[in-house]
Symmetry: C2
Subunit: 421 residues, 2 copies
């Protein structure tokens, strides 16, 4: 076996590579059409996906994609626009308008390639003609305030949008629409990722109204009226408008975990994928996953060492301190504390997008000596955890993982490696 630290880095690299648009997009490109080809898209990976399309496309091509600030890569034929995320801004609004205009201009011989990834919902934000921007934002904020479930919020959003919930595909019809998706949501539902601009919407305007009623939201009146009109209804599954559309899920958290699992197995380390969509408070989840690792070392359950416990999903941090660091570093710090120097366990926790929260690191690595090395440097694990300063802790140790933005995103990646005696 490689040394544990290098192996963990290799596993993370394999997971990110399994979500790399440059490597994945070419195999999913359709044959060129008789007519024009346009490329549109939205999401954190949109620019990288666009570059992969134009680098591999045999014919003429034009288009526009919108990505998050800092996530652009230079394209020659496709315009790349940066916009606000997670709060939509005017750049996103304008980009959405232009993308709709591009779709409107297409005829039956034309092809629209639509590139969708996480973050697309905020980046591709355009209210329906009958809905004011401020009204839409007010309802959105009200839903967030009263703790509505993300599925409920998306249902309302789709029925107030000019582009989501299949409306982009409806606008492009009768052109052929080929959608390539990189998933960052639990369950990988294409109707959920970026609110599914090219995907039939199974939810109804009636449901959107019930949700607002349920949460006691009765204003603005004009918006409520709009939800009672026929115009606000999204295109439904089975609608002939989708006859000439296809969709491929080119990368998912699960595929990234499988790539890491294959590499681990090849290195003689038994992989166990715990799940691709773990959630929960980072420091708490470490208290459950740590003992799973300890159980491997002590009892050979859930899997015999040498082994690696792989998991994806998105953990959260409830910020109480003043420190720096995202959920991956905080998970790693809490895990180190809980393992308390267990000599058999190494671990890596990183965001596959390369940015763990708001700092410059993807995540962090822990080793059996993490706590003793920290102690010698005067770094107190407990104090750093109390202050939400996992970044400072691992920076001091030299155990941050820094990759820069990877220009893709299949959520967090955690690998806990257990070696034999």
């Amino acid at each position: 076996m490689k040394d544990p630290r290098s192996l963990l880095i290799s596993l993370f690299d394999a997971a990110v590579a399994a979500a790399d648009p440059a490597l994945l997009v070419p195999a999913y490109l359709p044959d060129p059409p008789k007519g024009r080809t346009v490329v549109v898209g939205a999401g954190k990976a949109a620019a990288a996906m666009a570059l992969a399309v134009e680098s591999n496309w045999p014919g003429p091509l034009e288009g526009l994609v919108v990505t998050r600030y800092g996530h652009a890569v230079p394209c020659e034929r496709i315009r790349v626009v940066e916009a606000g995320h997670p709060m939509p801004d005017d750049h996103g609004l304008q980009a959405a308008r232009e993308i709709l205009a591009i779709a409107e201009g297409l005829g039956p011989d034309d092809l629209m390639i639509c590139l969708i990834s996480g973050g697309g919902s905020s980046l591709l934000s355009l209210p329906h003609d009958a809905v004011g921007l401020e009204d839409k934002r007010a309802v959105n904020a009200a839903l967030l305030r009263c703790g509505a479930h993300i599925g409920e919020i998306n249902c309302v959003r789709k029925h107030l949008s000019a582009i989501k919930g299949g409306r982009l595909a409806a606008t492009a019809a009768p052109a052929r629409v080929v959608t390539l998706v990189i998933s960052d949501v639990p369950g990988d539902d294409p109707a959920v990722i970026a609110s599914g601009p090219t995907v039939p919407d199974p939810t109804t305007a009636g449901e959107a109204l019930s949700i607002l009623t349920h949460y006691g939201i009765s204003e603005p009146a004009s918006l409520i009226r709009h939800l009672k009109t026929k115009a606000c209804e999204t295109p439904k599954p089975g609608d002939p408008i989708f006859a000439n559309t296809s969709l491929s899920m080119i990368a998912t958290p699960r595929k990234a975990l499988e790539a890491a699992a294959r590499l681990a197995a090849a290195a003689g380390v038994k992989p166990l994928i715990l799940g691709d969509a773990l959630e929960g408070e980072a420091r708490e989840i470490a208290k459950a996953l740590g003992p799973m690792a300890t159980s491997c070392a002590r009892h050979g359950d859930p899997v015999d060492p040498p082994c690696v416990l792989l998991s994806g999903g998105e953990l959260t941090v409830t910020i109480k301190g003043d420190g720096r660091g995202g959920p991956n570093a905080e998970f790693a710090l809490s895990l180190a504390q809980h393992l308390d120097g267990n000599p058999h366990v190494w671990a890596l926790a990183c965001d596959t997008d390369g940015i763990d929260g708001s700092e410059d690191n993807a995540g962090a690595i822990i080793t059996p000596s993490t706590l003793t090395r920290a102690y010698r440097l005067g770094l107190r694990a407990e104090a750093h955890l109390d202050d939400n300063d996992a970044y400072g802790f691992f920076e001091g140790l030299g155990d941050l993982v820094i990759t820069g933005p990877t220009l893709t995103n299949v959520n967090d990646f955690r690998a806990i490696l257990i070696v034999s005696d």
Copy 2:
């Protein structure tokens, strides 16, 4: 396969049976000695263990065990005393004195059977002669206040005690000492369970002093002075005083999980033991274990359905609301919310001691219809969770698991059952 609900109850019953003193103790009883046999012990299972000894002992027998209020069972020859837990009280103090006196009276031909289980540390509380009771309590409270680790607290406690950290065995020498232990601690270290009254103590008085210094505890001065004397040192591993002692771990969380795993396998359901010592905030851990179940159903990872994810350990609840319910019911409620009616997943979470926190239930069961049944009854999962009222939620549904005190304790038992399509 049995119906899922009955199967889950059977798995829990199997786990509890695997920790039942009446079933386990007989096989571990030594041959009667030439001289007297005395039975002493402390812990939540002490009375049930004592009854199992006297029901199966061929010769004369006497003794005293101390258990928690409500955990006594009538014994004929062994006295059973109830005392305070988790806060020690005078009953525990007096019982500890009597147990030491019993041990003191033993000779080389005598046998002491020592019955240890969780809770024994509080129940068997007696300060060293040189230490005042109030002083010992003050230091204990100070350590708890400043967030000292349980290992640190136990190290200090052992060096202030007249009975812990091997001192009971030292007092009984040269009599033979046979200790039977039911473990409720991660790692099943016999030196930790009930602070190991018959087990060599690897920690030192010097370490106890360093811990107090580390947390800035410099009073009471008399107590600090005591920690610098030779008399306060506990007997160490290798001390000849332990030559005539033996210890058997008759029940552990792991053995309980294995019993449930065997039963599941016999029922055609693949068991996967995730770990025997999971910790963390109950509602958060559900957000990690729920997606593991979903991953089984969707991807066949970490294990193919029909399967059951088994785990032990002790979750916690940070109380913010006014409701009723312990960590098992709260875990189950959060899990139901997270699974959101997933048609493939059933689950049970119960404390093996039969009491989940402070109510009369061992825990609760969830089914795919938990949320819809609750909705019809006007029970809102989210509101009950916010109010820490999982008991009220499952009481309304008729989905509490009620066994009464089981008179043993190998911590929590969680079984998440995933069925095929």
